[in-house]
Symmetry: C2
C-alpha cells in the first residue's frame, strides 16, 4: 500500500507575499504564510533545524511534518480545522466557519513527567517538540517583538529608580486610573530620560536577549552586553541592535565610562562568559576600579541547561559538542547549573551594593536556588516589578503582520494606531522610534502594547483598512504568550501574585478555550515556554483581519475577550487596578459583581 | 458600594424537571439542571460539602460559588459563555450561538507545583477545587456510570483468563476488525459466562468502587468486597448493588465457597481494612485454608492519601479526624502510604500464586512504589489489559440524561439504541440488565459504550426523538473523562502506550479545543482526576440534543470528532486496530495518510 518515502530535508523557506492565495481563504492562508515566515532565515535563529528562537523553540517537529502542515493547509476546507500536536499535523476535522482553522498543543506533559529529562527522551524518539511561545504557534516576528517589552521594562525601571520627581510613586495610580510613567507617560515625556548617563549590565544576545542593547538605547541608557558566541554579536551588529563590540573587559569599561560621561546612549557588546565576567566585575566595583552599573539583569537561556547556558570554564565548542551528545548531558547540565549559581551570586552581590537587580524571566534564580543559593529569589522578577500593573489593565504585547509583504501596509497601520489613541504618547514615541530604527525581519510587522478596550478597536480599524483597499492585503493579529491572561508561570509572569495563585493554570486554559469559542483563527496551548519544562503553561491566539464582516464580528469578540481574561485573572487575584478596570470596562465577573 | 454579604450554606439540591425553562434556552438550562443533579442527595456522596464522588471531587468551589453559578446561568445570554475556574464562576463573555455556553477549567496547576501539598494549600485558601472528572464538569450520573465500565472490564478479564475456547486470542482481531468478546461478543453470548462459579476479590465500595459487586454479578461472578465504612456498605445494600454483608472474614469465605459451588453470582460485602485483610487472605490461601480468588483488584481511593485511604491499624474515626486537621496530614499520609505498600505487596503475592491481578486506576501501585515496593508495577493496569483495544475504535463511556426527569424517556432511548445497532449484542445485554437492575439516581440516565461512527448516530436519533415529541424533553449527552481521546494518565488510561507517549498531554488539550470549536454545550479541562494531583490531565464534553436543526449540526460534528480524536491518538501511537479503524472510517490523519 505505501510507497517508499524519502524524508523531507532542510530548504530555504520564505513566506509568500502578494495577493495570490495558496489556500482556500485568507484565514488558512495566514497560517500558511506565518509558519513559513517563522522559518524565514531573516527571522529564525536556526532555520535548518526548524528552530525559531529561545534555545530549541521550533515551528514544526521535523521537515516531514513541516511539509505536511503546508500540504494540509493547502487542502484545508473553509469549515475544517487542522490539529497540530507538538509540531506534527495529526488530524483534520469538520468544524464550522467561525471556528479556528488550526488548533495547536505543543510540549504538554502530564505534570509528574514534565521534566527536561522526559521531554528530551520523547523529543529524541520523535514524539515531541519544544514550541517555546510564538515559535510553535507561528506568530514570532523576530527580535522586534521583544524590543518593545524590554523597552517598557527598562524605561519603567529607570522611572522607578532614577527619575527625580517621584520615584516612590511606582505602582500607585492617579485618581483617573492612569499610572505615572506606566504606559502613559504623557507628563514625563519632555523631561530628560531618567537613564541618561547611566548604564545597564546584562548578558545574552540571543533571540530575545538581542533586543536589550537597542531597548536600552531607546530608554536613553548605555549598556554592556556580555555574549559568549561571536556569531550572535555579529548578527546584532549587522542588524544595528548593538552599536559596538569591545575588545575585552578593560576596553568595555573604558567605553562605558566615556559614553556615560558624554550622556550618549551607546550599546557595547563584549565576548565572554557572564558566569566569569560578572564576579570579576563585582570585585572591581567593590575595589572602586570599575564604574557601578545602574541596573543589572540577564538574558542567557538558563531555562535550558543543555542548549542555553555556557558553563564557566568551557569553550563554546566543548559546549556545543556536549549538547549534541546525550551521553554528556548530565555533565553539561551539572556544569551549567554551577555556572548559574555563580552568576546569580554575583547578581546578588550587585544588589547588596544597592544596584537595582532583576531576573528577566529565564529561570536562573530557580537553577541557582536548586544549587543551594538559598537567597536566589532575593531579587525580583521583572514582571511583578515592572509589568504586572499593565497586565491589570489588559495591556500586553499586541502585534500584527502585513500578509501582503508590503512595508507600506505597516506604516499605514502605525499611523492608524496614533490616530486611534492620541492620548498614548508612550506608544507614539515607540512607534516613531521603531519606524526609524527597527529593520523588518520577514513579513513586515509591528508590535505595541495595547490594553482592554483598545485592541479590538485596533483590529476593527485594520479590518476596515483591508476592506476599503487602503492596505494591500489582510493583517494577521496576535500576541506573545507572555500576556495578561494567557500564562501561568510562577517564576515569571505570575510570580508573587497577590493571592498566592501563582501556579494555578486554570487561567491560561480558560483563555485558550474562550479564544477558540470566540472564533480566533488559530489557538495554541503550550507548556514550558521561557522558563522551561515544568515551570509554565500558556496559550497563544492569532486572528486574521481579512476585511470581511464575519472577521469584524470575530475580531470584536476575540480582541475584547482575550485581554479581558487578563483583567479578570488579576481582578480575581485582588489587584485594585484590575478591579477598577473591570468596573470601568463593564466586565461581567460574577463573584466580584455580586457584592 | 458593597452591602454585607451572608455566605450561602448547604441546602438540599435537586435538578428541576419538566418543560419549564429557568434559563434562556435548553442549552443553558441543561448546565443549570446538571450541576444541580450532580448535587442531588441521591447522586452525590456528600452534597453538603458539594462533594459528588471520588474522595473530594466537587461540583462547585463553595456554596457561594454554587449559587452564583446558578444565578449566572439564569441570566446568561444565548450568545454568551460562562467561564468556571476550579468551581468558581469568574467571567461571562460574548461568544456566539454555536460556541459552548460554559467553559470549565478545574484543578490545573503548573507541573512543578502540581502536588497535593500545593493543591491543598490553595484549596484551604479558597483558591482551588478538586474537580475529579465528571464531578466538576457536571455529568456524573451516579454509580451506574461506572457499572458499565466495570462490567466490561470484569467480563473481558473472565474471557481472557477463564473462557475455554480461546483465552489466547485477547487483543487479536478477526480479519473483519472485530474483537472476539471485546465489545462485540456476538458469538460467545450463548456460552456459559467464563466467570461462572468463580469469584473476584476487591476493596472499596465508594462512588465508583460501589459498582464492583453489581458488575461482577452481571459478569456471572461472585465477589468479596472489603469496605472499611459501614455507611458505604449500607448505601450499596440499599440500592441493591451488593447482595449481602458477611459478619467476618470466616463468614465471608464460607459464603464464597457455598455460592461458587452453587454457581450463584452473589456479591458479599465485608467490613474491614483491605490493608489488613488481604495479607491475612494471602496467608490462608497459601495454607490452603481459604478458597483462591480468581481475580484480584482494588478500588480504595489510594490516589488521595488524606481523604481516600484508611491506614492499617487506624479506626475510621481517627482517620476522619486526622483528615479534618491539617496538622495531622503528614502523619496520615505517611500511614496511608505504608498501608498501600502492604496492600500492594499482598496483591503481588496473589499474582505470584498465578491469580490475575489488576490495578483499577487508583494510583496504588505508584504509592507503593514510592514506599519502596520496587516491583509494584508488576501487575498491569486495567486499561492496557482490558480497555485499550476498545479505545482504538473510539469506544468508550457514552452517556445521556433525560432533562424531562421522566424515566420513560430513557426507556425509549434504550430501545432506540438497540434498534440503531442490532449487531451490538453485548450492548443489548447490558441495556436489558441495566433496565432491570439499575435504579436511577437523580435525573434518569443511561450509559453504554459506543464507538466512532455510532455516537453521532445515537445523538442525531435522540435529537429527532426530541424534535418529534416522542421524548418529553431534551437529552443531555456526555461521557466520562476516561475516554479514548480525552485523557493523558500514565498510570492508568495511557499506561504503557505502544510508542511510549504515555505522558504526552497535548492530546486531551486538543480534544478540548476541538470540542469547543465544534460547538459542544460545555467543555472542561481538568487535572489530577482519578489518580491524583500530578498524574493526569483530561477533558470533558457535554452536548445537548434539544431537537433543533442547529443542535443536529453540532451533534454531528462533536459526537464524531470527540471519539475520532481517540482513534487519531491511538493510530498515532501505532496501534493497528486504530489505524485500521481510521482508514475504514475515512479519518483525515495527515501523517498517516501521506504514505
Ligand atoms: N518574554 C520574556 O519573559 C522574556 C524576555 C526575554 C528573555 N527571556 C528569557 O531570557 C532567556 C534568553 O532568551 P533568548 O531567546 O535570547 O535565548 P537564546 O538561547 O536565543 O539566547 C541566549 C544567549 O545567551 C548566550 N549565553 C549562554 N550562556 C552564556 C553565558 N554563560 N555567558 C554569556 N552568554 C551566554 C547564548 O550564546 C545565546 O546567544 C530565555 O530564558 C528567555 O525565556 C524571557
Ligand atoms: N474510571 C476509572 O478509571 C476508575 C474506575 C473506578 C475506580 N477508579 C479509582 O478507584 C478509586 C475509588 O474510587 P471511588 O470513587 O469509589 O472513591 P471513594 O473515595 O468514593 O471510595 C473509596 C472507598 O474506599 C474505602 N476505603 C478506603 N481505604 C480503605 C481500606 N484501607 N480498606 C477498605 N476500604 C477502604 C473508603 O471507605 C471508600 O468507601 C479512585 O482512586 C478512583 O480513581 C478509577
Amino acid at each position: 500500500m505505501s510507497t517508499a518515502h524519502t524524508p523531507a530535508g532542510p530548504r530555504p523557506v520564505k513566506a509568500p507575499t502578494g495577493a495570490t492565495l495558496h489556500c482556500k481563504n485568507w484565514l488558512i492562508e495566514a497560517a500558511y504564510r506565518m509558519i513559513q515566515n517563522n522559518l524565514d532565515p531573516a527571522v529564525a535563529e536556526n532555520p535548518d533545524a526548524l528552530v525559531v528562537y529561545g534555545g530549541i523553540g521550533k515551528a514544526a517537529r521535523n521537515w516531514d511534518c513541516f511539509e505536511q502542515i503546508l500540504a494540509s493547509l493547502r487542502s484545508l476546507g473553509e469549515e475544517e480545522t487542522l490539529l497540530v500536536q507538538s509540531g506534527k499535523p495529526v488530524g483534520v476535522f469538520r468544524t464550522h466557519a467561525d471556528a479556528p482553522r488550526v488548533l495547536i498543543a505543543n510540549s504538554n506533559l502530564v505534570p509528574h513527567w514534565a521534566t527536561w529529562e522526559h521531554f528530551n527522551e520523547l523529543d529524541r524518539q520523535g514524539l515531541m517538540m519544544y514550541g517555546q511561545m510564538t515559535a510553535g504557534s507561528w506568530i514570532y516576528i523576530g527580535t522586534q517583538g521583544i524590543v518593545q517589552g524590554t523597552y517598557e521594562t527598562f524605561a519603567e525601571a529607570g522611572r522607578q529608580h532614577y527619575s527625580s520627581p517621584s520615584p516612590a510613586e511606582y505602582g500607585g495610580r492617579s485618581p483617573e486610573g492612569t499610572a505615572p510613567g506606566l504606559g502613559r507617560p504623557g507628563a514625563q515625556a519632555p523631561a530628560p530620560a531618567p537613564l541618561e548617563g547611566r548604564w545597564i549590565l546584562t548578558a545574552g544576545l540571543g533571540g530575545m536577549g538581542g533586543a536589550q542593547p537597542l531597548a536600552a538605547t531607546f530608554a536613553g541608557a548605555c549598556s554592556l552586553n556580555i555574549e559568549c558566541q561571536q556569531s550572535r554579536i555579529d548578527f546584532r551588529l549587522k542588524t544595528r541592535y548593538v552599536d559596538e563590540q569591545a575588545a575585552d573587559l578593560d576596553d568595555a569599561l573604558a567605553r562605558i565610562a566615556k559614553y556615560t560621561a558624554e550622556k550618549k546612549a551607546i550599546s557595547i557588546a563584549l565576548l565572554g562568559n557572564a558566569a566569569e565576567i560578572l564576579p570579576e566585575l563585582v570585585r572591581r566595583v567593590k575595589a572602586g576600579s570599575a564604574p557601578r552599573p545602574d541596573i543589572v539583569t540577564d538574558q542567557t537561556s538558563a531555562h535550558d541547561l543543555i542548549n542555553g547556558y555556557l558553563p564557566a570554564g568551557w569553550t563554546v565548542e566543548q559546549w556545543k559538542a556536549a549538547a549534541a551528545d546525550p551521553a554528556q548531558h548530565a555533565d553539561l547540565k551539572a556544569a551549567a547549573a554551577r555556572g548559574c549559581a555563580v552568576h546569580v551570586q554575583a547578581m546578588l552581590d550587585f544588589q547588596a551594593l544597592g544596584i537595582p537587580t532583576v531576573d528577566y524571566g529565564n529561570n536562573i534564580r530557580q537553577v541557582a536556588f536548586d544549587q543551594g543559593v538559598k537567597n536566589a529569589f532575593d531579587f525580583p522578577g521583572f514582571v511583578p516589578a515592572y509589568v504586572r500593573p499593565q497586565f491589570c489593565e489588559g495591556r500586553g504585547p499586541f502585534r500584527w503582520v502585513a500578509l501582503s509583504g508590503d512595508p507600506e501596509d505597516i506604516r499605514k497601520t502605525d499611523a492608524k494606531i496614533k490616530e486611534l489613541f492620541p492620548e498614548e504618547t508612550r506608544v507614539h514615541r515607540w512607534l516613531d522610534m521603531a519606524g526609524e530604527r527597527i529593520a523588518f525581519q520577514g513579513l513586515p510587522a509591528r508590535i505595541c502594547w495595547l490594553g482592554l478596550g483598545q485592541r479590538h478597536r485596533a483590529g476593527l480599524a485594520f479590518n476596515e483598512m483591508v476592506k476599503s483597499g487602503e492596505l494591500k492585503g489582510p493583517i494577521v493579529i496576535g500576541r506573545d504568550h507572555l500576556d495578561c491572561g494567557s500564562v501561568a508561570s510562577p517564576n515569571r509572569e505570575t510570580e508573587a501574585m497577590k493571592d498566592g495563585s501563582d501556579a494555578v493554570s486554570d487561567w491560561p486554559l480558560l483563555n485558550a478555550l474562550l479564544n477558540t469559542a470566540g472564533g480566533a483563527t488559530w489557538v495554541s496551548l503550550h507548556h514550558g515556554g521561557g522558563v522551561g519544562m515544568g515551570f509554565s503553561q500558556h496559550s497563544g491566539v492569532v486572528i486574521v483581519a481579512d476585511g470581511t464582516d464575519a472577521a469584524a464580528q470575530r475580531l470584536s469578540r476575540v480582541l475584547w475577550n482575550d485581554p479581558a481574561t487578563g483583567v479578570m485573572r488579576h481582578a480575581d487575584a485582588g489587584y485594585d487596578i484590575a478591579q477598577r478596570c473591570a468596573r470601568e470596562q463593564g466586565l461581567n465577573l460574577p463573584m466580584l459583581n455580586k457584592d
